[in-house]
């Protein structure tokens, strides 16, 4: 891999070279390295582009890295990645996509990720999106995430998009069975003329299912963001949706949290807030010797940490 590719790999998956454990690296629309382990098998799909990741029941403390990097201008792809997590497994999954576009043509990666999480299994799923490059070509990422959670399973999903993606349409759905718990942490920063749209539907179908959705975003310059998280309680369950945004410059943000209860013991709460950086926060950091610009950076970095 060249310097740019290694940099992209670090930006999206915190990797300095080939990772430990199972991995699949996709570069400019083609496979660039794969490793399965005794407990985690990665196979190429035969009917459409993409891979199946099969984690054996009971697999503990292992990880799967499946980063995607695009460094050629004009690459457009759609891939399907299915994860089959066996009962009682406990694994870390790191995905992520980085686009370095130095040309004038659009580069786009649309990834459809499906998670089938078995009984009592636990996963942490980290997905980072990043774009850069001096070209005028658009950098587009449209991730679809579908999560099916069996009884008493746990999923923590962290999605981060901090820089450089011109347009993103993110679609996340989850179905939770009895006792399952889903935590989603979405962090997003847009700048320039970027547009980000995030739709989410969480269906809590089993007794004792619970979900916590936390969305933190910062919109700068002329960028636009729309959030539409929905939590639907179909059983005795608990859900909390929290959308918090900092708006700056000429940006626009719409936040439309929706909660629905179809069972009298469903307990669902939402909170949403959009606002500028609080002036007292800036003043406080200035009284510690920071300039106004430094203070602003500290506040944003903490907010998205």
């Amino acid at each position: 891999m060249n310097k740019t590719e290694l940099h992209m790999l670090e930006a999206v998956a915190d990797l300095h070279g080939v990772p430990q454990g199972a991995y699949n690296i996709r570069k400019n629309g083609e496979g660039a390295g794969r490793q399965s382990t005794a407990n985690i098998t990665i196979e190429t799909k035969t009917d459409k582009p993409g891979i199946d990741i099969i984690v054996k029941p009971g697999t503990k403390n292992e990880s799967v890295h499946i980063p995607v990097i695009i460094t050629q201008s004009g690459v457009e792809e759609l891939v399907y990645n299915d994860f089959f997590i066996g009962d009682d497994a406990d694994v870390l999954i790191v995905a992520g996509c980085g686009i370095h576009n130095s040309g004038d043509a659009k580069s786009e990666h649309d990834g459809i990720h499906r998670f089938h999480i078995g009984k009592n299994a636990r996963i942490k799923y980290v997905e980072k999106h990043y774009g850069e490059g001096e070209g005028t070509g658009e950098r587009v990422l449209n991730p679809v995430t579908e999560i099916f959670m069996d009884e008493n399973s746990f999923c923590e999903m962290e999605s981060v998009q901090i820089r450089g993606v011109d347009s993103t349409k993110r679609n996340t759905t989850a179905r939770l069975e009895k006792g399952a718990r889903l935590v989603v942490l979405e962090k997003l920063m847009t700048h320039g003329n970027q547009i980000a749209h995030s739709d989410m539907v969480i269906e809590l179908n089993g007794e004792g299912a619970s979900s916590q959705i936390i969305s933190r975003s910062v919109a700068k310059d002329n960028s636009e963001q729309v959030f539409y998280p929905r939590a639907v309680g179909n059983a005795a369950c608990r859900a909390h949706v929290q959308c918090d945004s900092i708006i700056m410059d000429d940006a626009k943000i719409r936040s439309i949290p929706e909660i629905a209860a179809n069972h009298c013991d469903a307990n669902i709460v939402h909170e949403a807030a959009i606002g500028r950086i609080n002036n007292d926060q800036l003043l406080k950091l200035q009284t510690m010797g920071k300039t106004e610009q430094e203070a602003e950076e500290i506040i944003i970095n903490c907010f998205l940490k």
Partner: protein, 238 residues
């Protein structure tokens, strides 16, 4: 040495201009501890903000060690070693207590030092180091952390705006003890805006500000008894 020379501050309101501070002159020698007290709305907090640079005076001059800092920014005053504890400290989402203390210190603060500052303000450091400085903290907790942020700095002048406001009696006791401990070891000059007798008693000097002017300023031994006597004589039926 801090010198306020003929400081005035007025704001525009519907009737024209309203004087908040009028021709105030005050001096604070190095290493001294001054309590500024007086009735609500008298201009005390404004005076503290004028010293820190959060507000700019409409007249007069502020000198710090002989340098005119009247037009200096908050950041530059902070770099000269002036610090300010807010009456209502802001909260920060995503910032831990340890991060905040490190920011105040100017570099990453070792855990044991963070713990020492938190203990001094009566907080069990282990419980607080990784807590977020957000709305999960109570009013008393955030005030004590605010005071710890000033301790974590190497200051020449520390200004506290009503440190007792919004905290309960137990936290207040702890706070007085903290200030007693600070006064024993401190080298910096200190200005505390306060209504509390117990804080006034440990000061070197007291200034009474009312209606935007200095009504009285002098050593605590002189001003404190007079102030107390004034309250004792307010009931005409005695």
């Amino acid at each position: 040495m801090l010198e306020l020379k003929n400081i005035s501050f007025n704001v525009a309101d519907e009737k024209g201009e309203k004087d908040i501070i009028t021709d105030v002159s005050l001096t604070l020698e190095d290493g001294k501890f001054l309590v500024i007290t007086g009735p609500n709305g008298g201009g005390k907090s404004t005076l503290a903000k004028l010293i820190m640079g959060i507000e700019k005076p409409t007249g007069g001059k502020i000198l710090w060690n002989g340098t005119d800092i009247t037009d200096m920014s908050i950041t530059d005053r902070a770099k000269l070693g002036i610090g300010y504890a807010f009456q209502q400290p802001p909260r920060f989402k995503g910032l831990s207590v340890r991060d905040l203390l490190s920011l105040a210190h100017g570099s990453d603060l070792p855990e044991d030092q963070c713990c020492a500052y938190l203990t001094q303000v009566g907080l069990c450091s282990k419980d607080y180091l990784n807590r977020q400085v957000d709305s999960s903290l109570s009013g008393g907790e955030i005030k004590r952390i605010e005071i710890a942020t000033l301790m974590a700095r190497d200051l020449s002048l520390a200004i506290y705006d009503e440190p007792e406001a919004g905290i309960d009696l137990w936290s207040f006791n702890m706070l007085v003890e903290s200030f007693k401990a600070i006064t024993k070891t401190r080298k910096e000059s200190m200005v505390i805006i306060s209504h509390q007798e117990r804080i006034m008693k440990i000061a070197d000097e007291i200034a009474i500000i009312a209606n935007g002017v200095v009504k009285k300023k002098g050593p605590t031994a002189e001003v404190f008894p007079e102030l107390m006597a004034e309250f004792d004589n307010t009931c005409s039926f005695r």
